[in-house]
């Protein structure tokens, strides 16, 4: 055995992971007609029991579907989402729940997938506001916009409070290509129809006036 002096230069803790904080990481995907959201909730090992008390309300040592749904609902009540100042109503799409043991060890992440329908929005600049007030006593937050999957949506700015509990996403909604086509095609067709009608009227008018001219006194009919 080779004995070597091995000294940690700084105090080393046993924890290799977050201890006394409750990490809440939100990712927001803006689409033209809806907002999709994921929230990962990861309590550190030192606060896991505290969080579990809120989830495992019957103290059975496991999390039932009803308990998971109830906790998800409580998180959703603490989350505010609005577009251009109009509140949105996120609903739960699905949830992924770790084992109680994993949460207890500080490893378990609960994942909520939420979705909210957007009101009809016109092309142009818009903003989405997100606020997470769940467990601010122990929470640390991440909040980010995902790169939009549609070319119709372009994010122009993100602003947050210092703790990332609040996020404002500025974005531009471009006119839908199909809508653009119909927007241009319809007036175009109408224009063509009107031009065609005017042309016909003009021809009729010319023919009419010829006849009239023919009827001009002194002119011989051809």
């Amino acid at each position: 055995m080779l004995a070597l002096g091995l000294v940690a230069a700084a105090a080393v803790t046993a924890s290799a992971h977050r201890k006394d904080e409750y990490l809440q990481a939100s990712r927001i995907a803006i689409e033209s007609g809806r907002v999709q959201m994921e929230i990962d909730l990861t309590p550190g090992i030192a606060v896991a029991e505290d969080v579990l008390k809120q989830i495992d309300t019957d103290r059975s040592g496991s999390v039932s579907d009803a308990e998971a749904d109830a906790y998800a609902a409580s998180v959703m009540r603490a989350v505010a989402l609005e577009v251009d100042g109009r509140p949105l109503a996120p609903y739960l799409v699905d949830r992924v729940w770790p084992t109680v043991e994993a949460v207890r060890q500080g490893e378990g992440s609960m994942r909520l997938r939420l979705s909210a329908l957007m009101p009809p929005l016109g092309a142009g600049a818009h903003h989405l506001r997100y606020h997470n007030a769940h467990r601010p006593d122990i929470g640390v937050y991440l909040a980010n916009a995902l790169v939009p999957s549609s070319d119709r949506v372009a994010i122009t700015d993100q602003q947050r409070d210092v703790d990332q509990r609040a996020l404002r996403i500025d974005y531009v909604l471009r006119a839908d290509a199909a809508a653009l086509r119909s927007q241009w095609i319809a007036p175009g067709l109408i224009g063509l129809a009107m031009a065609s009608a005017l042309l016909r009227l003009s021809r009729i008018s010319r023919r009419g006036s010829g006849r009239l001219r023919g009827r001009t006194p002194g002119a011989a009919p051809t």
Binding site: L2, A3, A9, A14, D40, S109, Q164
Partner: protein, 379 residues
């Protein structure tokens, strides 16, 4: 004082050799040659194993669960699968380390050794389960013979393949607690993946002929600074120092764009975040001077250059080509010594450097949103 096991001594000697070799950089071999050497080293590992060991090492290339089975967490908090170093005989372990040396650059190999060494320090400082991590949950060594890293203890948990720790036990730290797995059969032509990792380390190297991708990977460190025989070791020291050098090379206008107005407590695109791309923020690299761009690329190389130089050079060329669309963002103090987060994000690149509340505990992530797990060539 720390009584080092024989494999640890081998690692340290290797580490010293690697450090020495850095003084005389050699011309990068062709990627195809590098692949041939890595495949030979991988086959040498396989040759040391019995059938059970081979079964423990080998996974199907399309095993999506195993592909994503990596984490910053220690075991058994996170259950890894594959060959556990602590279960190997000395020749087996030497073969594994030779494979890593072939697959990685000299600096990348040095980094991996130092991250593992840091975990050994953590074990002694944290009151871990002692040498061998309390014994291999997977039973005896895959190739027969005595385990190199501590006494065996206990059989495998129900349903576990070799080397898997069951939940609920004490955390296991140290150089024995790292796992190797192959997804697909090592080949010079057909895609396969070398997966190596443990606490604070995940190397996912997908090789397809002369192409390779080492994303996603997670080099991390705790402690971030320690000494061995009077020599200071900082596994991610260059990442830290080059990051601070870059932020301090910016003028006030550039800084105002690069520095985020909010705290970033953790990795945004860490483990379990495959396939997601966040909206980039910060200072666009096109607003950097040529000298600052060189500093940024030099910083990126700390991650992109972990894999064999033959693969790293084309990867760096790709990142360089995307530089005009690459962003540098910073959160935290700008004086070196503070705990600051930074992110570099480009068309084919995401790097995050995230102190976990202190400068002594660092997580980082390295991704290619277009080619994680070699998606473009590993079909």
């Amino acid at each position: 004082m720390f009584a080092m096991s024989r494999p640890s001594a081998v690692l340290l000697v290797s580490c010293a050799l690697v450090s020495g070799s850095q003084a005389a950089p050699q011309r990068s071999p062709a990627p195809a040659d590098a692949t041939a050497r890595i495949v030979a080293a991988a086959r040498a590992v396989v040759a040391t194993l019995d059938e059970a060991g081979k079964g423990t090492l080998q996974y199907a290339f399309d095993d999506a669960a195993q592909k994503k089975r990596w984490s910053n967490f220690p075991s058994p908090m996170f259950a890894r699968e594959g060959l556990r170093l602590g279960d190997l005989t000395p020749p087996q372990r030497t073969a594994v380390m030779s494979l890593l040396q072939a697959a990685l650059s000299a600096d990348g190999y040095r980094k991996v050794l130092e991250i593992m060494k840091g975990d050994e320090v953590l074990k002694t400082g944290a009151g871990g389960r002692g040498p061998g991590g309390g014994g291999p949950p997977g039973g005896g060594p895959p190739g027969g013979g005595p385990p190199a890293g501590g006494p065996p203890g206990g059989g495998p948990p129900p349903g576990a393949r070799g080397g898997r720790g069951g939940p609920g036990g004490g955390l296991m730290f140290g150089e024995d607690q790292y796992w190797l797995a192959f997804l697909g059969t090592p080949s010079t032509t057909t895609p396969w993946m070398l997966q190596f990792g443990g606490h604070h380390l995940a190397i996912n190297l997908t090789i397809g002929g002369s192409q390779a991708s080492m994303t996603p990977s997670l080099p991390a460190a705790q402690p971030a600074k320690f000494t061995i025989e009077g020599r200071e070791i900082r596994p991610l020291g260059k990442e830290n120092d080059k990051g601070f050098a870059l932020i301090n090379a910016l003028d006030e206008t550039q800084r105002s764009q690069a520095i985020l107005s909010y705290r970033v407590a953790d990795l945004v695109l860490g483990p379990t975040q495959d396939g997601r791309t966040i909206q980039p923020e910060g200072l666009r690299a096109s607003a950097l001077t040529p000298a600052q761009q060189s500093m940024l690329l030099d910083l990126v190389r700390e991650w992109a250059g972990i894999m064999n130089d033959a693969y790293a050079e084309p990867r760096m060329a790709e990142i360089r080509a995307g530089l005009p669309q690459t962003y540098f963002a910073w959160s935290g103090p700008t004086v070196n010594g503070g705990a600051a987060y930074f992110r570099i994000q480009g068309p084919t690149l995401v790097i995050e450097y995230a102190p976990q509340g202190s400068v002594d505990h660092i997580h980082t992530i390295y991704r290619d949103p277009t080619n994680d797990y070699g998606a473009t060539f590993a079909k």
